[in-house]
Each structure stands twice: as structure tokens, then as C-alpha cells.
């Protein structure tokens, strides 16, 4: 009984770490840059595919390819914001209009990225196995790669938290999250900060995808959408722009997913969604929100 409980708890934590990381990125894009990025999952997919390509063609292990992927995807996100969302923001009449338009634009982004991936990698599913040997954790058996992903996502999340809380740039990001106009008046270079946030969001999505691909899941160009949905749910669960909340939400969702999918594999998405529905109705500001 105790073993079974531990098994569920650890299994949930292992999945939840990646969910949390994905959600931190999504929360940053929506909470600060005000872009509800429906294409978030597509960058998860891209991150996973890049890792796959590096691993299978050049033999670069996923943890090493993180060193390439992080700056690369950060730059992609930054540039996307600079050439698209910055002009869109300045030409929109009001923040509400920008929010609607940027959400719709992210659909465009979704189609573009997804179909680029289809053209580059084709539709058959891909996968690789890395560090798939079993590890015993207090009686239950897990594959080593999942434990590595949990450690990596906690490290990445905490590093970002420290960055946000103790650097000047982090302070600027927090100011922009509260009120972009006031932040701009205080001398924050707002467009740069928002682009940075979008870049960080894309980077975290890609790193989430990188870690996901390590856990021997099958990669396909259309895999992104479900993770976008998970990111949305975790963000609502943890409160927008709240990193600790995202981790708590991620772990809760991981646990629920693990419990439900161990008895009824088809219903985990339904369970996520019911939590989401319940929370939106009872506490739309999230578990840790004000």
C-alpha cells in the first residue's frame, strides 16, 4: 500500500516537472507579453525534434544539446516577437485588442511551425531511447531518464526564479507584468523586455520538448497541441505568472494524470479538463493567485 502510494507520488512528480517547465514559459508569454500563445506546443515539438536530430545524426546527448537548444530557441522567440508582435502591439488600439489579435496570430504561427516541421521531418513518428535503464526508487521502478528530466526541470525552473527575483532584468520583467505603461515610464525598455519574455517562453517550451523527447515518447509534428492545453491548464491551476504556482500546478496535474492513466488511459485528458473547469469556476485566479 505504502509502496503503491509512493509509486503514484513519484510517477506524478516525474511527469509534473516537465509540465511545470512548459507552463512557466506559457505563463511568461501570456502574463507579461500578453500573447496567448496557442503555438506554444509547436515549440515543444520543435525542441523535441531538434534533440532527436542531434542525437540520431550527430550523437549529441540530449543534456549536451540543451546548450545549443536554449540560446537557439531563445533567439527564435526574441526575433519572432521583434518582427511580429512588437509592431502588432504598437498598431493595436488597446491592450484588449492586442490580446485578441496576438492570440489569433499565434494560430498563424502554429500552422507555419507545424507545417515547416512536416516538410522537414515528415509525418511518420520518430523516437529514440536514452538512459532507459531502470532505477529503483523506494520499491517502485522508474527509468533513469525520467528522473533526470525531473531534476533538470526543477533546476531550470529555480534558475529562472532566481533570475527573475534577483537581477535587474528580472525586476524589469516583473514590473512589465504589473503594468507595461508604468514600467515604460520608469525607464524600462518595454519592447525589449516583452521580446525577452517571449524568447524565454519559447526557450522553455523547447527545453520542455527536449526533456520530453528523452522519456521515450513518440515524436510527431502534431504532438504539440496537447501540451499547449496542458500548459494552459497548469497556468490556470497555479495562477498566471507565478513560477511556484506553475510547479505546484504541474505536479498536481502530473499526479492526476498518473493516477487516472494507470486505471483508464483514455481519460487523463478528460480528468485534466474537469480540474480546469472546476478551478475556472471556483477560483479563476489559480490556487496561489490573489
Amino acid at each position: 500500500m505504502v509502496v503503491q502510494f509512493l509509486d503514484i507520488a513519484i510517477g506524478g512528480l516525474l511527469t509534473g516537472g516537465i509540465y511545470a517547465l512548459i507552463a512557466v514559459g506559457f505563463g511568461l508569454q501570456y502574463g507579461v507579453a500578453r500573447v496567448l500563445n496557442i503555438a506554444h506546443g509547436e515549440f515543444i515539438m520543435l525542441g523535441a525534434y531538434c534533440t532527436w536530430t542531434l542525437f540520431t545524426s550527430a550523437g549529441v546527448t540530449p543534456l549536451v544539446s540543451m546548450l545549443f537548444c536554449a540560446p537557439f530557441f531563445f533567439a527564435i522567440g526574441f526575433v519572432i516577437h521583434r518582427i511580429y508582435y512588437t509592431p502588432l502591439r504598437t498598431s493595436s488600439e488597446s491592450p484588449a485588442v492586442f490580446e485578441g489579435n496576438s492570440m489569433l496570430a499565434s494560430f498563424g504561427l502554429l500552422f507555419v511551425v507545424q507545417n515547416l516541421a512536416l516538410i522537414i521531418w515528415g509525418s511518420p513518428v520518430k523516437g529514440y531511447s536514452y538512459m532507459a535503464f531502470p532505477v529503483q526508487l523506494s520499491g517502485a521502478v522508474f527509468s533513469a531518464n525520467r528522473i533526470v528530466t525531473l531534476i533538470a526541470s526543477v533546476i531550470l525552473g529555480s534558475a529562472f526564479y532566481v533570475f527573475l527575483m534577483s537581477t535587474r532584468m528580472g525586476k524589469a520583467i516583473r514590473a512589465a507584468a504589473q503594468d507595461p505603461n508604468a514600467a515604460e515610464l520608469m525607464g524600462v525598455r518595454i519592447n525589449r523586455v516583452l521580446a525577452l519574455c517571449f524568447g524565454f517562453g519559447v526557450m522553455m517550451a523547447a527545453l520542455g520538448g527536449l526533456l520530453l523527447s528523452m522519456t521515450s515518447i513518440m515524436l510527431s509534428p502534431v504532438m504539440g497541441m496537447q501540451y499547449t492545453l496542458i500548459a494552459i491548464i497548469v497556468v490556470v491551476l497555479g495562477g498566471l505568472g507565478n513560477i511556484k504556482g506553475s510547479f505546484i500546478g504541474g505536479f498536481i496535474l502530473g499526479l492526476v494524470g498518473y493516477v487516472v492513466s494507470s486505471s483508464q488511459p483514455g481519460l487523463s485528458m478528460v480528468a485534466y479538463y474537469l480540474i480546469f473547469l472546476f478551478l475556472l469556476l471556483v477560483r479563476p485566479t489559480g490556487l496561489l493567485g490573489k
Binding site: M103, F107, V112, L267, Y273
Partner: protein, 310 residues
């Protein structure tokens, strides 16, 4: 003079268009044109019914696929016993009920939270149905007694007329006014005596009715359906895209947007299946940045220019 011309030109245009549509199957012997027009009509109806609710209020719903799928399933269950013109309203009614329930739960949510919710609704319904079919019914797909192309075509023409008529009536009624005032400012609308939640929920359900009817009608072209086919998220994205592309201020705008887009789809899918969606994405990005009011915005600008110049 110009106002007068505008007043009679649109009904006349509409009647001409209708007569052309009704006579089409008799004049075109090949099935292809009929299928093509049916497809265009499907997108036009989906877009127009999406615009009934989301156009004036600004609540962006990503749930059309859910309502479309409910219609498809209604027809899968009923098509062996009942004819199309009975099945379609039943499919619509099913979607109406679902939208009413979902709407009364979630339309209190503002803006983006509503969008997020509707985005997940499609997945929820699809996954639940999939689970149900596998575990309870013991199948994944179902067979549909399909109708011939001409019947489906007339079914879509009828649905199109119904949604056109409904949008026209709603726009001119106090419901339309209430919807627009909700879009302007929800607090102000509530203070002026609009029962905000009720109007939103009812209109959301009305727009879902036509999506369900479309699903029920279009499903008769297929012989086999499963949850992935019926609740294809494409049916959520396309109407939104088409409405954005066309614009939402006048009735003609979403119709034009949907017609042009679905023609493009027809033209491009067969030739460049991957590049076509890529092009769609790029078009959307360009339209949002440079034509925030869609084609309609451009047309209205030109019209004003022409009217002003002597």
C-alpha cells in the same frame, strides 16, 4: 441616391445567387462542382454562425469543432432511420443543448479564459466520446447511411439560408443590439438593463445550433466516422480564420472570407498539401498585422474613396 441603390442591391443579389445555387445541380452534370460548392457552403455556414456570437461580443470561441462533431454523431446515430431534413435540426438541437450548458457554466469568464476553455472543450468531448466508444460501445468508428451529393448540397443550401436569415434577424433585433453593447462594455450593458449572461448564453447556443446542423448534414458525405474525424480541430480554426480574413462588421464579410478561403483551400490542397497550410498560417499573420478589419476593412476603405471622388 447611393443609399437607395445599396438598399435594393443586396436583396436582388441574394435572390440571383439563390436561384443560381438552386439550379446548379440541374445544369452541371459533373458531381465535382456540386461537391465543391457544398464544401464552400459548409465553411460559409460555420463562419457565419461563428460570427453571430463572436463577431459583436468579441468572445473568441474555439469550440465550433465540438458542435460540428455533435451534429456528426447525431447523424451517425439517427441517419439509418430518419431522412436528412429531420436529422439536421436534431443535430443542431444537440449542439444547442451542449452550448447552452457549457455557456451557462463558462460565459461568466471574461475574454481569454473563455477562449482557453472552448479550446479545451473539443478535446474533452472527443476524448470522452472516444473512451465511451471503446469501453462501452466496443467500437471506435460508426457507419453512416450516406446521402447522394445533390441531397447534401440542398441540405447545405437550406442551412445556409437559415443561418443567413437568422443572422439578419438577430442583427436587427434587440438581441443584436444587446450583443453589440456587450462587446462595447459589459458593465454598461448590464446597467442599461441587458440581462448579459442570458443574452450571451442564448446567442452562443443559437450559433452552435447551425454548426451542429452543418455537421449532421455534411456527415452524410462520409460513410464512416470516428471521434478524430468528427471532432477535427480544423473545424474550429477554419471558421475563425475565415471570419478574421473576411471581417465581421457586415453580413457579406464573413461569407466572402469563407468563400475565398475555401476556394483557395480547394485549389491548394491538391497541389501542395503541406505548403498550403503554411501559406494559410502566413496569410493569417499578414492579415492580422496589416488588415486588422479583414477584407471588409479594405473594401470599405475603397468604397469610401470611390464615393468621395466625383
Amino acid at each position: 441616391m447611393i443609399r437607395l441603390r445599396e438598399k435594393w442591391s443586396s436583396p436582388v443579389l441574394l435572390i440571383v445567387l439563390l436561384l443560381l445555387l438552386l439550379a446548379l445541380p440541374a445544369f452541371v452534370p459533373s458531381g465535382y462542382t456540386v461537391i465543391l460548392i457544398t464544401n464552400i457552403l459548409m465553411y460559409v455556414v460555420l463562419t457565419l454562425s461563428w460570427a453571430i456570437f463572436s463577431g459583436p461580443t468579441g468572445y473568441i470561441s474555439l469550440a465550433p469543432a465540438a458542435f460540428f462533431g455533435v451534429g456528426v454523431y447525431a447523424s451517425a446515430i439517427l441517419s439509418s432511420d430518419l431522412p436528412l431534413f429531420v436529422v439536421a435540426p436534431i443535430g443542431g438541437a444537440g449542439s444547442f443543448v451542449l452550448a447552452y450548458l457549457v455557456g451557462s457554466l463558462t460565459l461568466r469568464l471574461r475574454g481569454m479564459y473563455f477562449t482557453m476553455f472552448t479550446f479545451g472543450l473539443v478535446e474533452l468531448v472527443r476524448n470522452s466520446l472516444h473512451w465511451w466508444e471503446v469501453n462501452i460501445t466496443g467500437t471506435v468508428g460508426r457507419l453512416i447511411i450516406s446521402a447522394d451529393n445533390t441531397t447534401v448540397f440542398y441540405g447545405m443550401v437550406a442551412t445556409f439560408l437559415a443561418v443567413l436569415f437568422a443572422s439578419y434577424l438577430i442583427e436587427r433585433s434587440k438581441f443584436g443590439l444587446a450583443l453589440r453593447s456587450i462587446g462595447e462594455s459589459e458593465e454598461a450593458a448590464a446597467h442599461s438593463g441587458v440581462n448579459v449572461n442570458r443574452v450571451k448564453v442564448v446567442m452562443f447556443a443559437v450559433s452552435a445550433f447551425f454548426m451542429g446542423a452543418t455537421g449532421a448534414t455534411m456527415s452524410m458525405r462520409w460513410t464512416y466516422i470516428d471521434p478524430t474525424l468528427a471532432f477535427n480541430i480544423q473545424y474550429s480554426f477554419m471558421p475563425v480564420l475565415m471570419a478574421i480574413f473576411g471581417g465581421m462588421g457586415h453580413l457579406y464579410a464573413p461569407i466572402t472570407g469563407a468563400a475565398i478561403f475555401s476556394l483557395l483551400e480547394e485549389f491548394l490542397t491538391t497541389r501542395f498539401p503541406y505548403y498550403y497550410m503554411l501559406l494559410f498560417g502566413l496569410t493569417l499573420l499578414v492579415v492580422i498585422l496589416f488588415m486588422p478589419h479583414g477584407l471588409e476593412g479594405v473594401i470599405e476603405k475603397w468604397r469610401k474613396k470611390i464615393l468621395r471622388s466625383p
